[in-house]
């Protein structure tokens, strides 16, 4: 039993934090969000130099073969700083490609930071059900052609290649298509996404199946739990600071018991959420089978969704009017936590999945 990061994990998380503090503070982030690209090519290049793009990928493709716990500290740092880089979609697509015959031809450029990927799976109306795919892949001569529509594909506007799921005669399989010229739109949490229309789009088969989609999604869910923990930490820290400095009736508002107890409950929710993120990431890495993994990930996502909602709402409320202002970072943390609560399945979805396992 040991809840510390090892030395390598801690060093990596520390250097990511240092970089973000210097080059990705709230003002820098505001400019990145407002830019045409919607992400920072310079930050992305730095992430690649630091090894973040290679960390979760296999060694025979130039990666480091790392797991979820290796990334936990990094994701917490991303959550604190509200990083809008398309890290999760790249990672999801890369992990899917890692199982294909094309791994060695595609992944080295991803690891170098030259190629960005996206994972186009979700369709309108499917909500969180990963098995609901209507997009089809049909073979015509030597070529595979995709028809259908993928929705809200995170990181698609900046992706050089997209992994797309589609139905064949064998159920769900994965395909690779080139990046689509699509400016997309800004999500509620100020990231970039796009809808992808496939009208007989030529695609390269990658193999894979629904189980692989579930595996990749569970990994991303565990990591987004860790990111949420970082965002919640910021929300708790900044709210506590505000309670200590904001004065009304001649005293710091943190001297009022009604507010103290609410702050305490936020901190308890944070600790409980962090515990569940640890559980999810460690079950991803321990490889005890998909049932065990899914159960831990769903349990974690239930707690993260509940805590994200609780902490984000309370952090705005305890800031009073200032919490509503877009000038304060806490209001942007509110946006990110609101999106995370539903990302890869909201609490209701995961409650159903948890009970069924």
């Amino acid at each position: 039993m040991n809840f510390d990061y090892n030395e390598e994990q801690q060093l990596l998380a520390d250097s990511v934090r240092r970089f973000l503090a210097r080059d990705y503070d709230f003002e820098a982030r505001r400019q990145i969000v407002a830019s045409a690209e919607g992400y920072s090519p310079q930050a992305w290049a730095t992430f690649a130099q630091m090894g973040l793009t290679g960390l979760p990928l296999p060694a025979d493709c130039g990666g480091f073969g790392g797991g979820a716990i290796d990334l936990m500290g990094v994701m917490e740092a991303f959550g604190e700083a509200l990083v809008v880089e398309p890290y999760l979609p790249v990672l999801m697509a890369a992990r899917a490609i890692a199982r294909s015959a094309q791994a060695k031809s595609i992944l080295p450029a991803v690891i170098e930071g030259k190629t960005k990927l996206s994972f186009a799976h979700v369709e309108k109306g499917a909500r969180y059900d990963l098995s609901r795919v209507k997009t089809t892949a049909r073979k015509s001569g030597d070529a595979w052609l995709l028809r259908g529509e993928k929705a809200a594909v995170l990181g698609a506007p900046m992706a050089d290649k997209l992994v797309v799921s589609a139905r064949t005669g064998n159920g769900i399989e994965l395909f690779l298509i080139p990046g689509q010229a699509n400016t997309g739109y800004k999500t509620l949490d100020e990231m970039r996404a796009a809808d992808i229309v496939l009208n007989g789009t030529k695609a390269e088969p990658l193999g894979g199946d629904l189980a692989l989609v579930e595996e990749v999604t569970d990994l991303a869910t565990a990591l987004v739990c860790a990111e949420a923990v970082g965002a919640m930490k910021f929300a708790c820290d900044t709210t506590l600071e505000y309670l200590k400095t904001r004065k009304q009736f001649g005293v710091p508002i943190g001297s009022f018991q009604a507010l103290q107890h609410r702050m305490v409950d936020m901190c308890i929710a944070y600790e409980q959420a962090r515990s569940m993120a640890c559980l999810a990431c460690s079950k991803i890495d321990s490889n005890e089978g998909p049932g065990d993994r899914a159960r831990a990930v769903s349990a974690a996502k239930i707690k993260i969704a509940d805590s994200a909602r609780h902490i984000s709402q309370e952090s705005v409320q305890l800031h009073g009017g200032m919490g509503m202002s877009e000038e304060l970072k806490v209001s942007h943390t509110f946006r990110r936590l609101t999106v995370i609560a539903g990302q890869f399945g909201d609490a209701d979805y995961h409650l159903a999945r948890f009970a069924a396992l």
């Binding site: 039993m1 809840f3 510390d4 103290q260 600790e271 409980q272 515990s275 640890c278 559980l279 239930i302």
Partner: protein
């Protein structure tokens, strides 16, 4: 990061589990499982079985019978007791009076009381709360006036758990009403419950059970040798005990057993999504608390620092979970049933409301966290 026990710790857990399987008397286990009343004999029979095994006071120093286990092993042991459905070990002697004597007692006091506590010869109770002094304990009024080689005690304690079983009571009393700080006028006294002038009157709680009492002191003469530590230093002693709260405050093992039982008992509701989701949320909260508890234990092991306000968090969450489990159990019971078990479940729900009030109400625990952890 590794959430699992080490191979040695896991082997220890298996050893404890196997021993409990073989040595926890079936009739006691069944009583606990049925939420039945546990008599003094039931409690003390189990106490003595553990004492004979050498496991009744693991945290004590080895010379007095402690096992020398690490905090992690002690935690594992206590959680296994709860998980197995063992009767509770009453903490007043083993986990409250004894640590106080070990830290502040004279050699004579240690020799006189510790072996008897260990063997279960004396049943102890705790005299802290008074009618006017609950959360604000330092306002207590029961007074002890020195007369020759005795203190003469007058006053009243309330909510005194199992005082009707007790041979001895440890009390906080006011020895100096004029002290500048009211905490400085308090002393820690040990009293034989057979001393003339002590009267125990039952207080029946909302579940109809007799568990707590009022204890009246009317010119009770207590030998000076029963003072622990110095006169006027009782508050120091009481604070030490607060910081000494055990790391199993969250009662994970016990709640895991209740959860398993609830799942079995409520099987007819497993397809009701409303009930199912409530159950799942409690289960997730318990999974989280178990890991939170292990994280705190790991931190304590690394830093060597006492757990402090961490224990308050475990108390808040642990008791909320215990209450939620009994509430769901009651909800799962057939509303038309009034057999013995259904009745016991409903009474258990009533009884468990006490958990968020006793041992420092959950509001007091939040005050502690706000002050100690958050600096508010």
């Amino acid at each position: 990061m590794d959430l699992n026990y080490s191979a040695e710790e896991a082997a220890f857990r298996d050893e404890v589990r196997a021993w409990l399987q073989a040595n926890l008397p079936r009739d006691l286990k069944e009583k606990v499982s049925a939420y039945a009343h546990l008599s003094k004999d039931d409690l003390m029979r189990w106490h003595r079985i553990l004492a004979d095994k050498g496991w009744v006071a693991p945290a004590w120093p080895a010379q007095w019978g402690g096992t020398g286990w690490s905090p992690v092993r002690r935690y594992i042991f206590e959680e296994e007791l709860g998980y197995a459905g063992a009767p509770p070990l009453i903490p007043f002697g083993l986990a409250m009076c004894a640590p106080v004597l070990l830290r502040f007692g004279t050699e004579a006091q240690k020799k006189r009381f510790l072996p008897r506590i260990y063997r279960g010869d004396d049943f102890w109770c705790q005299g802290y709360s008074e009618p006017g002094s609950g959360s604000d304990l330092a306002s207590l009024k029961t007074k002890a006036v020195r007369e020759g080689d005795h203190y003469v005690v007058n006053g009243q304690k309330i909510w005194t758990t199992l005082a009707h079983y007790a041979d001895w009571i440890f009390c906080l009393v006011r020895t100096d009403p004029g002290a500048e700080r009211r905490q400085e006028g308090i002393s820690f006294l040990l009293m034989d419950m057979k001393t003339p002038g002590i009267t125990v009157r039952p207080l029946i709680l909302l579940d109809g059970a007799h568990e707590v009492n009022e204890v009246f002191f009317d010119d009770v003469r207590v030998p000076l040798e029963n003072l622990v530590y110095e006169e006027g230093k009782g508050w120091t002693v009481a604070k030490y005990l607060l910081g000494h709260e055990r790391m199993n405050t969250g009662r994970i093992g016990e709640s895991k057993r209740q959860l398993a039982k609830l799942k079995e008992y409520a099987s007819s509701l497993k397809n009701d999504p409303r009930f199912r989701d409530r159950l799942s949320r409690v289960e997730v909260e318990l999974m989280a608390l178990e890991i939170t508890n292990l994280r705190f234990l790991d931190r304590m092991r690394r830093t060597g620092q006492p757990p402090g306000a961490d224990v308050s968090m475990l108390k808040i969450k642990g008791t909320e979970i215990q209450q939620a489990l009994t509430e769901l159990m009651m909800q799962a019971a057939d509303p038309a049933a009034h057999d013995e078990f259904s009745a016991a479940i409903r009474k258990k729900y009533l009884s468990m409301r006490k958990t968020t009030i006793y041992a420092g109400s959950n509001e007091i625990q939040r005050n502690i966290i706000a002050k100690m952890t958050l600096g508010l």
